[in-house]
């Protein structure tokens, strides 16, 4: 451990702990998930980077949204995302999450995921290779270091807008808003 690392640990231990133990939600949202099993098993071994799949959303802080998102899946994604404790990071996986990819004209897939939930980073390509996942993870470390992986803060701040967008596509949602706007503003003011 070099001096730089050590200073970071002394200054912000929780941040470093979050950074090096990314627990990913075990949720196969799209076809990008085909490269996740090789990544987490022996050959590519994502545990070197501290990425481990976790059974429940309550224990996870990384959400890999692997590929296209159909309307029905969007509901499940929002539900899962809102159940994750803060701080939480989302990575859009493959071109489908960026602009719809090859399903740009499909009647059942939403095109831009960041209209509905905040995204901290994207991995381009179809399929992104396991190496690309590791590049994304190391990049996410840098973002966390610089406090730029602030998707969950943006979600809190602009919750009303996100919720409005979600309701535009999903219609009636069967769970109440997780933040009242005033509460969200208060938390944002307190924690920045």
């Amino acid at each position: 451990m070099d001096r730089n690392q050590l200073m970071k640990w002394i200054k912000a231990p929780t941040k470093m702990a979050h950074k090096y133990s990314l627990n990913a939600v075990y949720f196969c949202t799209g076809c990008g998930v085909i490269e996740v099993p090789p990544t987490i098993t022996s050959r590519w071994d994502a545990e070197r980077f501290g990425v481990v799949p976790t059974a429940t959303a309550r224990q996870a802080n990384l959400f890999l949204i692997t590929g296209y998102v159909s309307v029905k899946t969007l509901r499940a994604i929002i539900r899962t995302y809102e159940q994750m404790p803060e701080p939480k990071y989302t990575v859009g996986f493959g071109s489908c999450t960026i602009n719809g990819g090859m399903y740009w004209d499909s009647y059942n897939t939403i095109n831009q995921l960041d209209k509905y939930i905040p995204i901290d980073g994207y991995i381009a390509g179809c399929m992104p290779r396991p190496e690309a996942i590791f590049v994304a993870v190391t990049h996410l470390w840098t973002l966390i270091d610089k406090d730029m992986a602030d998707g969950y803060k943006r979600y809190r701040k602009n919750y009303a807008a996100y919720r409005a967008n979600q309701e535009m596509i999903l219609g009636e949602m069967e769970w109440p808003p997780i933040f009242q706007t005033e509460v969200a503003t208060a938390i944002t003011e307190r924690e920045g």
């Binding site: 309307v71 009647y107 209209k115 602009n158």
Partner: protein, 169 residues
């Protein structure tokens, strides 16, 4: 057509039209009411495997074509000329007020197939045990697989209208 099965079908049912099907298959066109009796007849004749129920939208003719593809399970190592062929059963349904009798009584596997066609083409199957939505979450004015449903227009109207989040505001 000199096909033993074709001859028997012709003798048993009225209004059955035989066509030389694709690559050695027998294509049978039947009126809508005869779907279930002909399917039952074919099943008893050894065609015990309903491979798929498909639907083709011929919008110029103003009708849907339901296609039932029947085959049989075999353990013999024979090709298609082993005495029996596959059968393509077709029936047309008008596009307005589209409905057809259900085949679930004859083949259990018809259930999800018909549910899918009901959802994607809007054809009602009379007597089907559960015609609930299978794949779709949203309601579509025109069932999406019909030819007059324009996916690009729909995407422009629905998904592209959702505004991006204004992070600064």
């Amino acid at each position: 057509m000199t096909n033993p099965l074709g001859t028997r079908l012709d003798a048993t049912f009225k209004g059955v039209e035989l066509r030389s099907g694709v690559d050695g298959r027998l294509a049978v066109v039947v009126p809508r009411e005869a779907i279930v009796p002909v399917l039952t007849f074919l099943k008893e004749d050894g065609y015990d495997y309903l491979q798929l129920i498909s639907c083709v939208d011929w919008i110029d003719r103003g009708e849907f074509e339901l296609v039932y593809l029947l085959s049989f399970y075999t353990e013999d190592e024979v090709g298609r000329d082993g005495g029996k062929q596959e059968v393509l059963l077709k029936a047309t349904v008008p596009r307005e007020q589209a409905s057809a009798p259900t085949a679930t009584g004859v083949f259990a596997i018809a259930e999800p197939h018909e549910r899918e066609i009901h959802e994607l083409y809007g054809i009602h199957f009379e007597g089907h045990p559960r015609l609930t939505p299978l794949f779709l979450d949203r309601d579509y004015e025109i069932p999406p697989f019909r030819k007059d449903f324009d996916t690009k227009q729909y995407v422009a109207d629905v998904f592209d209208r959702v505004p991006p989040i204004d992070e600064e505001g």
